[in-house]
Subunit: 369 residues, 2 copies
């Protein structure tokens, strides 16, 4: 424990002054010490070892500059040894859902990355914050506005940072699209079209259970189109109107299958959005501005994002979305700077998605405060 | 007059029996006679010599197999000689808006193509029908449901054919998209995205005057997206919801600038559509089906249509849209077969556009009967 306190204290020092403010001799001492070198990387613990953790996040951690896969939290004992072997994770950094709170005493873990089913995000974010850990939480933030507010409150109270896993905001093509909009490179953006859908497989997965997912296509992938419309417009919608269609009432008994919705923004910008668990091919973020247009298509895949404008192709490097997202959060923590994807950002999307569902139920537009 | 009656009678004979039913000797006599050869092409008179007639339709007539530019109707005397010289149009086939009805006595004119501002379509379609001419009328059919109904009635009463200038329905890429939908090549289409917009130029043109245009972007180019959603779904919408935005309230004082709307179809198919006179770049018809998707982009330009599916590019020849459209109508007349773009088709779109405007005024979804 004594050693952990020392390490924590050092890190706290770095947090407080910011990396840029570290004096040259201090920086040199950090670099020359092998221990300090490892110390520069923040230890991430993944909570939930489903396909996203297995196929995307754990491999991505190996590509980060400022993070390392330090621990895991799983309810499946069989996964413990396999992950320990593959990623050289010490026994003491492996938790299950019962003993997870003991992570408070583990100085190897700086950040808890919550990769659980949506309806478990709140509980594990709050437990992680109470354990003194920063939290990166997958989207959607939670399944209700109230839960999101509790998560924000818990992290604030623990003085820990909370970020939502909006990986696209760290992808160069999306960053460029946001720049084109903000800098009015083609004048003011007026109309946005954004949609993301895919044909979901396994009918037994948690994404199709309301108790675990909270909703269907909208909460899982429609949220990317919602995010896109919001960060391209740079505004918050004042009205939404949505319609739902459901063909496969067995597979999609509990959650939404396909939704189209529109949003009005204060300046008059309008967006048409769509999402689906039934049909693929929708994977696009398009903006029409006064003097031109820009588009990402595919926009939201894990890789292979392509962008173009009326002037030609967007030439940007492909990056590992999750690695970039995690490195950004690590630097926010190290430098004590705000993340651009805080809990408040996740809360806004959940509020809007709640209004989208309300619009479907009521069959009319719903105003947003 | 005697000669004209003879010619008319011969044509009427062909109409009645249909070209396919003509006996071999009769067909041979038609082919071997030089007079008959010319007679095979139907004489078109263009009413309204604006940019569409000048830059698209008249040149397209030169590329047709079954039509010829036989006459013009213009209110601008200066255009008469220029067109007469350029297209070798005899003086007797040149009309103005006052003496247009005398076309009844002109056997050179078989079809009147109405290329006037929208709010004049009804009057000239009805006058042409009463003069015994078949009518091809540009889209939108008219600016009110009532006018459309009067046009259909007039053509029916005169036993003349009426087609609306929905050129895209004759473009191979659109024909293929319709085939993919009807034959369920990728299973049932579930979601459609369709939008068409451009940044309109000259602020003094008739398209921006309510009295002449009836509406703005929606009636002029949004109608392509509406058509697309209808012929891909193969159904009629039962509900529409629309929102409008207007930034330039001077230029667009009288007509709509940008509209996004959604439509629900009886089977559960949904469509998100958009149109704009303010911003370009929207020129797309996309359909997501159960096992794949297909898309045209650009979809509605006069040339250069491109299509692709999740399997790859659509490889189809580029055609002159107007030439193909006019040849189809000529063959419908010659063979006395129904056109796939009759007045009833134009009426449906005007009904739906009327509901779209109603939805904007009322701020709520509008049901369609």
């Amino acid at each position: 424990m004594r050693r952990s306190v020392t390490r924590r204290s050092r890190r706290e020092f770095i947090h407080q002054v910011g990396v840029a403010a570290i004096t040259a001799p201090v920086a040199a001492s950090l670099i020359t010490s092998a221990h300090a070198q490892e110390d520069k990387r923040l230890g991430f613990a993944l909570v939930g070892l489903g396909s996203l953790s297995t196929n995307q996040i754990a491999p991505a951690l190996q590509k980060t500059k400022h993070c390392r896969l330090a621990g895991i939290v799983t309810g499946t004992p069989a996964k413990e040894q396999a992950w320990a072997d593959k990623y050289n994770i010490p026994r003491k950094n492996i938790y299950n859902y019962e003993n997870f709170d003991r992570v408070a005493d583990n100085p190897d873990i700086d950040v808890v990355y919550v990769v659980l089913p949506n309806a478990m995000h709140g509980e594990y974010t709050i437990r992680a914050a109470r354990a003194g850990k920063h939290v990166l939480c997958e989207k959607p933030m939670e399944v209700s506005v109230k839960k999101c507010e509790q998560m924000i409150e818990a992290c604030k109270k623990a003085n820990r940072k909370l970020a939502i896993g909006y990986r696209c905001q760290f992808v160069p093509h999306h960053v460029e699209a946001i720049r084109l909009a903000r800098e009015k490179v083609f004048g003011d953006v007026k109309l946005i079209e954004a949609s993301f859908g895919f044909r979901i497989g396994d009918p037994n997965q948690w994404r199709l259970k309301r108790a675990l997912a909270g909703g269907g296509a909208l909460m899982d992938v429609g949220i990317y189109a919602l995010q896109g419309a919001r960060y391209i417009s740079g505004e918050e919608p004042v009205e939404v109107f949505a319609s739902e269609t459901k063909t496969d009432t067995v597979k999609f008994e509990e959650v939404d299958e396909s939704i189209l919705w529109s949003m009005r923004f204060p300046s008059g910008v309008m967006a048409n959005c769509g999402t689906s668990y039934l049909v693929g091919g929708m994977n696009r973020l398009f903006a029409a501005a006064e003097k031109g247009w820009f588009q990402l298509d595919p926009a939201y895949s894990y890789s292979g994002i392509q962008g173009k404008t009326n002037r030609g192709l967007m030439e940007f490097p492909q990056v590992d979305h999750f690695a970039t997202e995690m490195d950004d959060f690590a630097l926010c923590i190290k430098n004590n700077k705000p993340t651009k994807v805080p809990g408040e950002e996740g809360l806004r999307d959940v509020k809007i998605m709640t209004a989208i569902y309300e619009s479907i139920r009521k069959g009319r537009p719903v105003k947003l405060g």
